[in-house]
Amino acid sequence: MDNWAGLLPDFGIILILLLGVRQFRTPRGARAGNFLAMLAILCAVILVLYRHPISNYALVTIAVLAGSAAGWGIAMRVSMIQIPAMVAFQHGAGGVAAFLVSYIELSRNSMHLTGVAAVSGIIGLIIGAATFSGSMVAGGKLANKLKQAPTVLRGHNLLLVLIVICIAIVSAVPFYSGFACLCQYAIALIILSIILGVVFSMRIGGADMPVLISFLNASAGLAASFCGVVIDSKLLTACGATVVASGSLLTIMMCRAMNRSLLNIFKGITPARPQAGTPVQADTGKQKQVVAPRAGDPFEDAVEIIRKARTVIFVPGYGMAMAQAQFQVVSLYNKLEGLGKSAKFAIHPVAGRMPGHMNVLLAEADLPYEKLCEMDAVNDEFKDTDLCIVVGACDVVNPAAITAEGTPIYGMQILRAHEAKNVIVFNMDTKPGYSGVENPLYRQDNAVLLLGNAAETLDKVLKADLA
């Protein structure tokens, strides 16, 4: 089977898969891309069944059908706001599958394993198990079943290092003592790795979830890839490696967008622990000298500003998702467009709980995707825009990132909402965001704050006469 002609079908399948990924360059092609990837997996399953006639069709069919039915049922039912949690749980399921397969392979022919297969099997086991438990913690946080704040244990770093050392020792032992009792070592490794996954991800906070979930994406792929080596399936290895590429690329992008290193995020260094009493202050030069309430009622002011504005940019953040305000936001957008104003949306890469989360939520509310603009494409337009409407976003529009050197947020790329002629903020409160740095945008002369649940406030605005 190892001659090159025999591998042609494998290359064909990988080609189909890569063509599928290529389709994701445009929203229009993405659906076909997803189908191509599906086709590739289906062909891979058929090829494997053809090459390895299985003995127990009934059992296999039942298992596959049961899993598929559950997956299908849940996928059809989850709401778009639950997508990050769903994806995290699925990473976990993939991790379990990878370590179980590696375990069986290691225990099945422990006497005939080659060195390479044994090493990859053990790596697959460790990464799979850690991905499983890490994903469960991430999924719990994303589904609001666990608290969002980082949980830091005493001596957390030391504990992590100790677990890693234990794993390294347990993995090395079979190579000296022989593979006879590989099973016991494998079980010990699984348990240690599950603990590693939990300890690792528990101290990563809610707003760093886009990084964690991308990282778990990569590690699930890596586990699959190593699983492919131990079971000697090039297809499995290749598909796994493609997933690793995707996951690591997204991880890098998310870190870059937050201007933080991967290590910092994984160390659970929250950008700032809100210093008692004195939040970090920043100066934009535009803010009021005396904090006096604006002349009129902020709501009337806001309506007046909306009436006068010709160009509008919306900046949504995770707060919009939490308030489920995306439908009101899009209604307001439609109303403004109907009045002949030009409006668009500026999306920060890390807004939301997973990469690109805001886009899906707004697409669900029927916003045409041409209106969803990337940060770099739209950032120069703020200064010529009459009105910027911020909905549930804080850190991603915090000018302190540009002006306040020394604050934790300094250097992060932000949407330059503060440059717009007017800013209306629909946020719950004026508390600092996840970074802990106070947002000077709120104190600017040209900013109107409409605090409270964004969905309710927007409903009120929608009822007002905006013409």
């Binding site: 990924v21 899993g67 590696s102 690591s248 690329l249």
Partner: protein
Amino acid sequence: MTNILIMISVMGLSFLVGYFLISKVPPLLHTPLMSMTNAISAITILGGLIIFSFETTAEAKIIGCLALVLAAFNVVGGFAITDRMIRLFKSEQKK
């Protein structure tokens, strides 16, 4: 026999091609992308199937079944939800 050179090159090549293709994906589609690659990572279902082609113990069969259930859950769920998401993205012209 596992040939280490072949495996490394398969892994490396797929990674590079994947990296190149995925760097072209716009941030607009990052969520569906991750959801799809998540489904692909459950390609371990192949491993679960291969296990059933060997003579194995009952214990291995039970574990293998569990792996199959979870991998199938991941594959089908991942692709289904990706499709649901992509269908939400509508163009201006169609409105």
